[in-house]
C-alpha cells in the first residue's frame, strides 16, 4: 500500500517548533522530524513519549551487580575457598569494588545495546533517509497521510507561514519513504 507523505524543510529550529505546534493543533500526526542536533522541546511538541531507556539501564545494572556479588561469593567462599591473610571466606566489603564496576559495565553496555536495537541502528545499514540535509543544516518535518483530514494545501499554507524553505509531496511505498540522492540536495 502506498500513501502520500508531505515534507517540509526549515532553516531554523524555532520555525520547526512553531510549525509542529500549529500542525498538531490542526489535528495532524507526524511521521518523524529530522534535525542536525537534538532540538529541545521537539519531542514534547510532537508527542513523542519519553524514552524508557532509564528502566533498561536500571535493570541491567541491577542484574550485573547482583551477578557480580553472588559470583564472587560463590567462587571465593563455596567453589574453592582460599585463605588469604586470614580473611573470612565471604569478605563481602572486599567484593564491593568489583560489584560496582560490573554494575556500571552491564548498565552501560545493556542500555547501549537496547538503544541500538530499539532504533534499529545497525552497522552498515542504509539509512531510510528522507533528507540528507538534515544531518547538515536543515530541519525537516515528515507528515504521513493518516486520515481524511490530510490536506496538502493546508499543510503547505501552515508550513509556509513558518518560513518553510521547501515543501513537497511524495508517495511513500510500503511505509518506507524514498531517499533523495545526495547530489540533488545542492539544488534544494
Amino acid at each position: 500500500m502506498s500513501r502520500q507523505l508531505f515534507i517540509a524543510a526549515f532553516k531554523h529550529e524555532d520555525d520547526l517548533l512553531h510549525a509542529v505546534a500549529d500542525l498538531r493543533q490542526a489535528g495532524y500526526v507526524f511521521k518523524d522530524a529530522y534535525t542536525p542536533y537534538p532540538v529541545h522541546g521537539l519531542p514534547e511538541a510532537m508527542g513523542i513519549r519519553p524514552s524508557r531507556l532509564p528502566w533498561v539501564c536500571f535493570l541491567c545494572g541491577l542484574t550485573g551487580g547482583l551477578l557480580a556479588l553472588i559470583g564472587q561469593y560463590y567462587l571465593s567462599a563455596v567453589e574453592w575457598p582460599i585463605n588469604v591473610g586470614g580473611k573470612p571466606w565471604n569478605s563481602s566489603p572486599a567484593f564491593i569494588p568489583i560489584t560496582f564496576e560490573l554494575t556500571v559495565l552491564s548498565a552501560g553496555l545493556g542500555s547501549l545495546a537496547a538503544f541500538l536495537w530499539r532504533y534499529k541502528l545497525i552497522p552498515g545499514r542504509q539509512p531510510p533517509v528522507l533528507e540528507t540535509g538534515a544531518n547538515d543544516d536543515q530541519f525537516v518535518l515528515a507528515i504521513p497521510e493518516h486520515n481524511a483530514t490530510f490536506n496538502p494545501q493546508e499543510l503547505k499554507l501552515i508550513c509556509n507561514r513558518h518560513h518553510a524553505i521547501r515543501t513537497e509531496q511524495r508517495i511513500e511505498p510500503d511505509g518506507q519513504a524514498q531517499s533523495i540522492p545526495a547530489q540533488q540536495r545542492g539544488a534544494a
Binding site: 531554523h12 588469604v84 564496576e101 544531518n135
Partner: protein, 464 residues
C-alpha cells in the same frame, strides 16, 4: 580582553558561524591533505613510538631484569607511568561526563578530543601492568575464567584484581560513550562524502564506505534523538561515579598496604583530585597544539582555555591541600615510621623529586590566578607542561620514596631507571601522540552536532 566587561556572555563559538559552516569547518581537516606541521609532529611521535616498541620487544624477550628494579624497590617507573596515564585519562571523562551533568555548555567544543585523549591514555596505561607481568602472553590469567588449574579462581579480595575490573570497565564505557557521540557526526560525514563517492578517488570511496558502516544508518530522526539524549545522560551518569571509582581503586593498590607513605585513608580523594589536575594539564597542552595545527581557533576559544585554567587552579588547590594534610597527619600520628617516611620524602636521597613535584604542582599553577597569564597562550602552555611534569613526579615520589626506605634499614636501597625503562616511557608518549594525531585526521575532533546545538543560530531570538 579590555578592562570593561560586557554583561553578555562570551559566545561559545566565535566568528558568527552558521550551522552549515560548522559542518564544513570541522570536516575540513579530514578533507584536505595533511600539512607540514602535522607530518612533522607525526614523524616525531611515530619515532618515539618505534623506540618504545624496540624497548618493549627487548624487555619482553629478555625479561624484566632489564629494568632498574631491585628487591626493595619492586615498583618504580612502570607503576608510575601506569598511574600517570590513568590520571591523564580522567580529565576526558570529567569534561564529557561531569561537565555535561553540570550543564557546562562550553564543554561541547573540547569534549570529543578530550574523550579521545582518555581512550589513548588508558591504552598507554594498560601497557605497563601488562609488560610488568613479565610474561604478557599469560595476561588473561588475571581474569576469572574456568581453567584447567582446578579451576583456581583469582583473588577477589586483592586491589590488583579490582584494578583489572576498574580499568577494563573504564576503557569499555569510555569507548562506548565516545562512539555514541560520534554516530551523528559520522552520519554528517557520510552525507558529505556521498557527494564524491561516485567520482572520487579510491581513498574517498573507502572512507565513504567506512563512514557509512560506522554511522549505523543514522538520519537525525527526532525519535532517535530522543532516545539518544536519554542514553547520553545515562552514560554520563554512569561515567561520573566510574571515573571516581577508577582512581580510588588505583589508590587502593597503595592504601591497602601497610607501608608508611602508602597506608593512608586520604589516598582515594587525593588521587582523584590529582588525576583531574594532571588530566586538565594534559588537555590544555593538547588543545593549545591542536587548535593551531588544525585551525580550530573559532571553536576552541580563549574562553575555553580560560575555563580550563580555572579548573587547574581548583584541582591544584586540592592537591596542595592533600600534600599539607599528609605531612600534618604524619607528624600528628606520632608514629616514628610515618614521620620518617615523610621527612625522607622531602629531604632524603629523592628529595629533589619531591621539590620538583611541589614546585610544579603547588607553586607554578598559582600564576594562573592572574588574568593576563591565562590570556597568554604561550604562558599557559608552559604552565601546563609544568603540571604534566609535576604530576608524573608526584607518582614517582609516592611510589619510589616510600619503597626505598621502609621498616628495616638493612634492606634500604636506591633506584635508578634503566635506559629500557626510559625508552618505554618515551614510547608511551609516542603511542599517545601518534594515536591522537591519527584521530585528528580521520574523525571530527569537535562534536559537530553538539556545537550546532549551542550555536544559537537555529533560533530566531524573537526576530518575528
Amino acid at each position: 580582553m579590555s578592562s570593561a566587561f560586557s554583561v553578555l556572555r562570551q559566545p561559545l563559538v566565535e566568528g558568527d558561524r552558521t550551522v552549515a559552516q560548522v559542518t564544513s569547518d570541522i570536516a575540513a581537516p579530514l578533507e584536505r591533505r595533511a600539512g607540514l606541521m602535522w607530518w612533522a609532529t607525526f614523524t616525531a611521535a611515530f619515532s618515539m613510538l618505534m623506540l618504545g616498541m624496540i624497548a618493549i620487544t627487548y624487555q619482553v624477550a629478555t625479561g624484566i631484569g632489564t629494568w632498574g628494579l631491585n628487591r626493595t624497590v619492586g615498583w618504580a617507573f612502570d607503576i608510575t607511568n601506569f598511574v600517570f596515564w590513568i590520571g591523564i585519562g580522567h580529565a576526558g571523562t570529567a569534561i564529557s561526563a561531569f561537565l555535561f551533568l553540570l550543564r557546562q555548555r562550553w564543554r561541547t567544543s573540547i569534549s570529543r578530543a578530550a574523550e579521545a585523549m582518555t581512550i589513548f591514555a588508558v591504552m598507554c596505561a594498560g601497557i605497563f601492568p601488562l609488560i610488568h607481568m613479565g610474561r604478557p602472553w599469560f595476561a588473561y590469567w588475571v581474569l576469572p575464567y574456568p581453567n584447567t588449574r582446578g579451576p583456581l579462581w583469582v583473588n577477589f579480595r586483592s586491589p590488583l584484581l579490582w584494578d583489572v575490573f576498574a580499568i577494563s570497565t573504564y576503557f569499555t564505557i569510555s569507548a562506548c560513550f565516545w562512539y555514541l557521540g560520534l554516530v551523528p557526526d559520522l552520519a554528517a560525514l557520510r552525507d558529505r562524502f556521498a557527494l564524491w563517492a561516485k567520482t572520487g578517488s579510491l581513498g574517498v570511496r573507502i572512507r565513504y564506505r567506512i563512514y557509512s558502516i560506522l554511522s549505523l544508518g543514522w538520519n537525525g530522526s527526532a525519535k532517535t534523538w530522543n532516545g539518544y539524549e536519554s542514553l547520553y545522560l545515562l552514560m554520563a551518569g554512569l561515567a561520573t561515579p566510574l571515573v571516581v571509582s577508577v582512581h580510588s581503586i588505583v589508590s587502593f593498590d597503595f592504601a591497602t598496604s601497610i607501608l608508611p607513605g602508602w597506608h593512608t585513608t586520604i589516598f582515594p580523594p587525593y588521587f582523584v583530585a590529582g588525576a583531574l589536575f594532571s588530566g586538565f594539564g594534559m588537555v590544555l597542552t593538547l588543545m593549545l597544539i591542536a587548535r593551531k595545527v588544525v585551525h580550530m581557533e573559532n571553536y576552541i576559544t580563549r574562553g575555553h582555555i580560560d575555563a580550563m585554567c580555572k579548573i587547574v587552579i581548583a584541582t591544584g588547590g586540592m592537591v596542595a591541600f592533600a600534600y599539607i594534610t599528609e605531612i600534618f597527619i604524619a607528624w600528628q600520628s606520632g608514629n616514628l615510621y610515618e614521620r620518617f617516611a615523610f621527612a625522607n620524602r622531602a629531604f632524603g636521597p629523592f628529595g629533589w623529586a619531591y621539590r620538583i613535584m611541589v614546585f610544579c604542582n603547588v607553586f607554578a599553577p598559582q600564576l594562573l590566578w592572574i588574568r593576563k597569564i591565562r590570556n597568554n597562550l604561550l604562558a599557559v602552555f608552559i604552565l601546563s607542561i609544568f603540571v604534566n611534569i609535576g604530576m608524573w613526579f608526584e607518582r614517582f615520589v609516592i611510589i619510589v620514596t616510600s619503597l626505598h626506605r621502609d621498616f628495616l634499614p638493612s634492606s634500604w636501597a636506591h633506584y635508578t631507571p634503566s635506559l629500557v625503562e626510559i625508552a618505554t616511557l618515551i614510547g608511551s608518549f609516542g603511542l599517545f601522540f601518534t594515536a591522537f594525531l591519527l584521530f585528528c585526521r580521520v574523525l571530527p575532533m569537535i562534536c559537530i552536532s553538539e556545537v550546532k546545538g549551542v550555536l544559537n543560530y537555529g533560533r530566531r531570538n524573537g526576530e518575528h
